[in-house]
């Protein structure tokens, strides 16, 4: 069963990466990340799957890819795959502004 957690929209990319990783170290695995709304307020919604206690998956890498044409976005996402496996690409709030964020997981 997945756990959905709410993250404030004001984080920088680095803060968001640390915040998301903070849950993983206890034995959870981030599977999706996207912008949403909670009680009418903008928020980031992260979905995790439970692993065994303390079984943390490889670290996350978040990249703010900004906005651009679809072709530009595809190129940027593919370029990032050199550093890790893509697990999520979606609109996410960074410093209260919605932008496209790619989430990669470092290859073991």
């Amino acid at each position: 069963m997945a756990q959905i957690v709410i993250v404030p929209p004001s984080d920088t990319v680095d803060e968001l990466q640390e915040r998301l990783r903070g849950k993983e170290v206890a034995g959870f695995q981030l599977v999706t990340l996207g912008s949403g709304s909670v009680d009418g307020q903008p928020a980031i919604l992260a979905t995790y799957l439970r692993r065994s206690f303390g079984d943390a998956p490889p670290p996350l890498i978040l990249k703010d890819l900004g906005t651009g044409t679809l072709a530009q976005q595809e190129t940027a996402v593919t370029k990032g795959e050199a550093e890790g496996t893509l697990i999520s690409y979606a609109g996410v709030f960074i410093s209260d502004q919605e932008t496209n964020v790619a989430v990669y997981r470092q290859k073991p």
Partner: protein, 226 residues
């Protein structure tokens, strides 16, 4: 400064007086809450001005919350009687939202109040505690300082490395004063370990410190409290 109308002031004074009397003599909590919300819209097509919206909100809460155990007879007439136990629990929530998608659909006002056992039960489970927290601050994943994050990771690695058992997890939670209901996806034979995992995954610094101390107590050399 907002001044309440005379009738409201009288009601407030009477409630406070009653609270003062009952609060000293028994362990009853007395609570007063007043809320006003108003929305006005104005549009003048002749002037070409944009729509003018005014929103007014005023909320007043007064609570006299005595300890759970009233003062013993020997001290109850003292100006400052000796009370024992924690204060009674009290939770009040207020929420205003749109009544529909259109401007004329009005607003919906929700107000919730719970005291005593109801308030304690409301905040007793991880899910309930999360719901309450979300209502006040839309955040469930705390951002720890780098030092605290490293301490948390070290504690988890240490506990995992020592092959922490479900019974040990239960003892750590108890020693840290954490009482929580396991999530639905917790394995039946590892419920306490599962709760400890949930707590650690979203812990803040004070809770982390309590868990470190408890872990050191239950599993010696398992943690180094700061």
């Amino acid at each position: 400064m907002i001044t309440p109308p005379p009738v409201a002031r009288l009601v407030l004074l009477l409630l406070l007086a009653a609270a003062a009397m009952t609060g000293c003599a028994t362990n009853a909590a007395t609570f007063y809450e007043g809320t006003r919300f108003a929305l006005a819209g104005e549009y003048n097509p002749a002037s070409g001005q944009p729509v003018n919206l005014s929103l007014g909100y005023k909320r007043r809460i007064a609570a006299i919350v005595p300890p759970q155990v009233a003062a013993p007879p020997a001290t109850e007439k003292d100006p400052h009687p000796i009370h024992k136990g924690e204060a009674l629990s009290l939770v009040s929530l207020f929420d205003v939202g749109p009544g529909g998608a259109n401007f004329g659909d009005g607003v919906i006002i929700r107000s919730t109040f719970a005291s005593g056992m109801a308030a304690r039960d409301l905040t007793n489970t991880p899910r309930a505690a999360r719901n309450i927290r979300e209502l006040f601050a839309k955040e469930t994943l705390p951002l720890l300082s780098k030092t605290a994050a490293a301490r948390k990771e070290a504690l988890i690695k240490d506990l995992r490395g020592r092959g922490i058992t479900d019974a040990q997890a239960a003892s750590i939670l108890q020693a840290a004063g954490i009482k929580a209901t396991p999530a639905d996806d917790c394995p039946p034979n590892e419920k306490s370990l599962c709760v400890l995992q949930d707590v650690l995954s979203e812990t803040d610094e004070p809770t982390l410190q309590r868990l470190e101390r408890a872990a050191k107590e239950i599993i010696p050399a398992a943690a180094k409290p700061q």
